[in-house]
């Protein structure tokens, strides 16, 4: 179980979030750009520190302001798939997946077995020597997932994992992603803009606005959520430095 209760003063608003994600469940975080979704993921991963509060994973505190506990990101063992994947551009697909295992000082044989297993599971073995910059969007996404799962994380964080894929690939990947994450059996948080992702992938949904969770509940109830009733589904308008041009979506 992941328990989050954090506060942080941001430039435009105060982030104040309380959320629980049971073991093996997928929480979908939805909200418009700049509402604090990625900030929350970064706080859970240890890349940002909350001003106060607690983050507990399976009963172990990752962050606790009252006890002055703040585990560094490398100590948290969290699988994080970044928006646009953040694959290391100077490394091959193989080395990207092996990166996390090498930091754990496993034997060379163990690393080889584990990486091969991951690459085969994600249908990437054939392109293991390709540089991460030279592969397609779908392959990048699979490499990023393989890299995050290779370390056998206790928690999965996925920041808009489908946004860099074309629309057809997105539809295919929604189903695959759900099966994959469910099979892995750890609590997961998936940030998305797209309500189709929520119902196809998630068990629960948290709707965020200006740093607060304004609605939470089962994923399938998302369309009935008060803040969304009669509202237009959030559209993608942002392009980041690494992103392909955003594809506008409508409800």
């Amino acid at each position: 179980m992941l328990e989050i209760d954090v506060k942080k003063k941001l430039r435009d608003f105060d982030l104040d979030v309380s959320l629980n994600v049971p073991e093996g469940e997928i929480l979908m975080l939805v909200g418009e750009n700049g509402c604090g979704k990625s900030t929350l993921l970064n706080m859970v991963a240890g890349l940002l520190s909350p001003d106060s509060g607690e983050i507990t994973l399976a009963g172990e505190p990752l962050f606790d302001s009252s006890l002055r506990i703040n585990l560094s990101p490398e100590m948290r063992n969290i699988g994080y798939v970044f928006q646009n994947y953040a694959l290391f551009p100077h490394l091959s697909v193989y080395e990207n997946v092996a990166f996390g295992l090498r930091t754990r000082r496993l034997s060379r044989q163990k690393i080889e077995v584990k990486v091969k297993e991951q690459l085969e599971a994600f249908d990437l073995w054939g392109m293991r020597d390709a540089k991460a910059v030279n592969i397609s969007g779908g392959q990048k996404q699979r490499t990023a997932l393989a890299r995050a799962l290779a370390i056998e994380p206790r928690l999965l964080l996925l920041d808009e994992p489908l946004s860099a894929l074309d629309i057809r690939r997105q539809a295919e990947m929604r189903k695959e992603l759900r099966i994959l994450i469910r099979n892995f059996g750890v609590p997961s948080i998936v940030v998305t803009h797209d309500l189709r992702d929520v119902v196809s992938i998630g068990d629960m949904v948290g709707l965020m606005e200006a740093g607060k969770v304004i609605h939470s509940g089962p994923a399938e109830e998302v369309f009935n959520a008060k803040p969304l009733t009669g509202a237009v589904m959030p559209t993608r308008t942002r392009t980041t430095r690494l992103a392909r041009p955003a594809t506008p979506r409508s409800s």
């Binding site: 970064n42 991963a45 240890g46 890349l47 560094s72 990101p73 490398e74 948290r76 063992n77 969290i78 699988g79 994080y80 970044f82 646009n84 953040a86 694959l87 290391f88 551009p89 100077h90 990166f99 996390g100 930091t103 754990r104 910059v133 890299r147 370390i151 430095r241 690494l242």
Partner: protein, 288 residues
């Protein structure tokens, strides 16, 4: 017929067809092309003249002259040591400046840039006032039996002083260009900050760093003003190639020409290397 063709090409008909703005655009193009040719000739002519004059004066015979070999050896030796020092000191400093804010960062930035703006002669005097026998620090070193001024060490100190900013500037840009998300990804995968630096940040920034080191090497190789004042002009000890060119100019022009040609060759090689590396840098860019 001829006149009608001429008229069609340059005359009223053309103006009628393309309008005044079309003719203006054409004139602007011709003007810019002329300017480009003039600028290229202005740089190419002196360099070409070096080769033309050297061929007739058999300058290459001076390649075995002790003045040339001593200067070449010393220049390559000191410039290499300089680059090693610049990389060792400059890399962590550039990373610090690229990634962190600290009190006095603006002042530190300005100080780093100062040797680029400052005339090298002034740099030489400043170094002499600091490390010379009577200098602020030099007098204490002298008391302890350490003399820097007018030694080969002084050549290296002068070269580090003038070439460090070139590396620092390029290295900082290269580190700033490494997207933080890669470092964050590496940390979530279990890498410590030090490991992230050596396995992610440094390799991604490598081409930029090498290009900065090459620029620093080039600057060290061409250093004259600070060296002649702080290190003197002693053959085999402090007389680097630029100093030897200056000295030989007063006696044997062939030696000057020979050294000049070697420096031109180095310059060409350096430009080519930097271009290749820059191209590779963009090719490896994550956005592609």
């Amino acid at each position: 017929m001829v006149s009608s063709q001429f008229e069609r090409r340059f005359g009223w008909r053309r103006i009628k067809e393309e309008g005044i703005s079309g003719v203006r655009r054409r004139a602007l193009k011709v003007g810019l092309a002329l300017l480009l040719v003039l600028a290229a000739a202005f740089i190419a002519l002196p360099v070409a003249s070096l080769f033309i004059k050297s061929a007739s004066g058999m300058a290459f015979q001076s390649l075995r002259d002790p003045v040339v070999t001593d200067a070449l050896t010393l220049s390559l030796f000191t410039a290499t040591i300089t680059v090693v020092i610049v990389i060792i000191l400059g890399t962590p400093l550039s990373y610090l400046n690229a990634r962190f804010d600290y009190p006095g960062k603006e002042i530190a930035d300005s100080l780093i840039e100062l040797p680029v703006i400052m005339p090298p002669m002034v740099g030489g005097i400043a170094l002499l006032m600091a490390f010379g026998r009577m200098g602020v620090l030099g007098q204490h070193l002298h008391a302890g039996g350490v003399n820097i001024a007018f030694t080969t060490v002084a050549v290296v100190v002068a070269q580090v002083f003038v070439s460090m900013p070139f590396y620092l500037r390029q290295a900082r840009i290269s580190f700033e260009d490494v997207d933080l998300v890669f470092e964050n990804a590496a940390r979530t995968l279990g890498a410590s900050r030090t490991r992230v630096f050596f396995t992610v940040t440094l390799p991604i920034a490598t081409n930029g760093l090498i290009s900065g080191a090459i620029m620093a090497f080039a600057r060290a190789l061409s250093e004259f003003g600070a060296t002649i004042i702080f290190a003197g002009n002693f053959q085999g000890r402090t007389q680097t190639m630029p100093l030897a060119i200056y000295t030989a100019m007063q006696g044997d022009l062939k030696i000057s020409l020979c050294l000049a040609l070697i420096l031109v060759a180095f310059s060409f090689a350096i430009i080519a290397l930097v271009k290749i590396l820059t191209r590779r840098m963009y090719k490896n860019d994550v956005r592609n």
